[in-house]
Amino acid sequence: MKTETDPTLPAVLKHELNRRDFLRISGLAGGGFAIAFYLPGAAFGEVAPALDDTAKAFTPNAFIRITPDNVVTIVAKNPEMGQGVKTSLPMIVAEELGADFSKVKIEQGTLDPQLGPQFAGGSMSTPMNYEPLRRAGAVARTLLVQAAATTWGVPVAECEVEHGSVIHRPSGRLLTFGELAGKAAALPLPDEKNIELKKSETFHLLGSRVGGIDNPAIVTGQPLFGLDQKIAGMDYAVYVKCPVFGGKVSRANLDEIKSLPGVRDAFVVEGTADYFGLMPGIAIVADSTWSAFKARRALKAEWNEGSAASDSSASYERAATELAAKPGEILQNDGDLDAALAGPVKVVTARYTYPYLYHATLEPMNATARPTGDGGMEIFAPTQTPGDAQEIAAKTLGVSKEKIKIHFTRSGGAFGRRLSNDYVAEVAAIAAKTGRPVKLTTMREDDAQHGHYRSTGWHNLNGAVNSTGELVAWHNHFITIGLNSTDKVGRAADMSAVEFPGRFVPNYRFERSIISTNVPTSWLRAPGSNALAFVFQSFIDELAHAAGQDPLVFRLSLLGPDRKVPGPGKHDRPYDTGRMKGVLKLVAEKSDWEAPLPRGSGRGIAFHFSHLGYVAEVAEVSVSRGGQLKVHRVTVVADVGPIMNLSGAENQVQGSVIDGLSAAWLQEITLDQGRVAQSNFNDYPLLRINNAPAKIDVHFIRSDNPPTGLGEPALPPLPPAVCNAIFAATGHRIRELPLSKTNLSWT
């Protein structure tokens, strides 16, 4: 069996891709994708209510508005969570438009069908929006040039756009976009499909370094985030769920809680059985955040915890060991694995495992709601999926979607956690009960213990190299988790049956077994890949050593000649070995791969293809005899096609390196008596500045492939690069994360 699409893709993404395909297909039948997507000429409506629509403004589409006072406004369509799209997506529009970006006013859009799919996930903002946003900018530019040419009575071909003006070079005349707005607005819209786009060689904005649009507001502490939203007269609430996922309220000291100072109400919310939606719980509503927090600490609740109260990480570990001894479901079986393993080969056997991880966004889950009096609600939420937020709020309240107005704020980190909208359902349920505006703040401890975690997993591996050092056999029995199921894999807990090195090894078997667990799992930055790259790039390293080959040389041989290997499903992009070898070779060169290092120091190399991006990394580490690890330098080479914002791109890569190191080195969520054992940054540590590498060198191969996203693909190679470096330095092979569990001392 082969999967049709990458099972690690978030469902929301599949949904949006399908939706986009639908628009495209329906567009072909009925007058153009562009019309379905942009509704040209439509008023800005709620996107920019402050703007005066009567003053001959030029609004060729929902993304651009140019007023006669020469203000160029570009709408940032997608949620900003630190990945930089509030800056980079408007840059795409501005590039084609020819606007002076330093003077452009950027507005955060609200949830609006005119803006197309609006979500932040899957590193899809760039690939999904690059072409449509270029066309949006090009339409506006074409009309402005036409307006200028008509004004001057000159051919369009003699006019060009520069820094927010149209220029007629032969006569030296110039008109600003603002001066042309009225005239451009009166022109008929051209067909977006046939619009001429700029040649990428002429780009001056895309690919340059542009600072984040919100930087001035961030450094002066402006209220940008979800938790900063205020509604006059609002209450402050917390929501307490059963420490064992899915448990129901049995009884609680609600009368005592209601008598506490500042507490306005406390009540049980029955909730649903949706582990990613409105879970049963107790709401405490108070006059301040602190009153709510104090009351939460005083809450004494008894829960109907269910049978999962006896689950623990140890019980899951035992189940994984038992399942590994039995055959799993065989999902891929290429060549003759058994014969290959029995041949004249060196066989390496290893078991790799990684823990549950918590997203640990620094801004905890929160949302603010105001009942609108008609049964609906206005909700301010830091969410990656505002459309889903609207749906879950409507479902919670039993009203139509139209009655829910969603404002998506800047998120204080998201990393996939805010693809879920449980906190939106919770605030809606609370505000519906009280009938008053309310801000829900999740205490850090509740946030940590009610996450939607990166799944744990176990890989039981056999690999074989032949006498010439070729990888000839690969067998993986993958033990993963299901959410209270042994048939259905949990969210973001599956993998493609032919994940690399599948398709590259002649004798290859992938089998899978599922442990039933009671822990909700979900997408964490580079879902699937963030764990799989650790396992496979580490095991490939073991096989390289078994083959007596340099780990770089072994990898290049495994990738083979330059070609495009078909993806796992017919809709998946192929694996371009030339691009991967390109980043590998360059990272070796840039990291001084071959320069010798003393004992106790080492370099490790790893690569991974995910989110359509090709990335290779080399980590250089030292380990003291006592076992103290230091990561000195990380070199990254990425090929994600052209770069949008070079500053933002480098920041994403450096952040991915720190994030990957933080998780691989320090972090695990464990279960005890069905409960998450960790609660805050004391027992779930995040990497601090004193453990950050001195250098993270970032290089981009700016190929002319279609541009793809960079929020995720630079993370997966980091953990194996570090683990392989530790092996080079000390001989310790890390097969279990976090690596802080392994004693790294050496003699």
């Binding site: 630190g82 930089g84 370094r209 542009v210 600072g211 984040g212 919100d214 930087n215 001035p216 961030i218 450094v219 002066t220 502490g221 402006q222 209220p223 985030f225 938790l227 900063d228 205020k230 402050y236 100072p261 500042g262 301040s288 955040t289 602190w290 927090f293 104090k294 966004t361 620094l362 801004e363 905890p364 800047r410 998120s411 204080g412 980190g413 998201a414 990393f415 703040t441 205490m443 850090r444 500053s647 933002g648 920041n651 994403q652 450096q654 952040g655 991915s656 720190i658 994030d659 805050n680 940054f681 004391n682 995040l686 990497l687 601090r688 500045i689 004193n690 950050a692 590498p693 250098k695």
Partner: protein, 156 residues
């Protein structure tokens, strides 16, 4: 409820609040100074860092009853972003999500006040109490060094 007079960013405010209310929540809920952030409530992450009589403190650990000194928040570092650190943060495009950066800036400002030319080790030591979940540490180091040079008029 007891009254407290707080001096924040040079202005006096009278607030009514329980004595154990952390300064963090007074700033955010009572005074609408929302730049100071909640991250952990235990003094572990540094997102709530403010200056108390010139010293960087975690405002989630300072009860209002004890906050009887001069308090400076991110809004008071300068409201126009003209502090050398605020300028360096923009020049280096430090922020990703930006949530921790007010706390980072307040810790960095306290560092430079006491140590105008900090070494890498000094920076790591002073900034280790501030978590950046997005991982902007290398740019934070670089921005602090640039701001230190700008503030002391030194050359690179």
């Amino acid at each position: 409820m007891p009254h407290y007079t707080l001096k924040v960013n040079g202005q006096s405010h009278v607030v009514d609040a329980p004595a154990d209310t952390p300064l963090l929540w007074i700033l955010r809920d009572n005074l609408e100074l929302l730049g100071t952030k909640y991250g952990c409530g235990l003094g572990l992450c540094g997102a709530c860092t403010v200056h108390f009589d010139g010293v960087a403190v975690r405002s989630c650990q300072l009860p209002v009853a004890s906050a009887t000194g001069g308090i400076t928040t991110i809004e008071g570092l300068t409201s126009d972003g003209s502090h050398p650190l605020q300028k360096a943060w923009c020049e280096h495009d430090v922020a990703q999500c930006g949530y921790c950066q007010a706390g980072q800036l307040m810790s960095a400002a306290a560092l430079l006040k006491n140590n105008p030319r900090p070494s890498d080790e000094d920076i790591d030591g002073a900034m280790a109490g501030n978590i950046c979940r997005c991982g902007t540490y290398l740019r934070i180091r670089a921005a602090i060094k640039d701001a230190a040079q700008a503030a002391t008029g030194g050359v690179k």
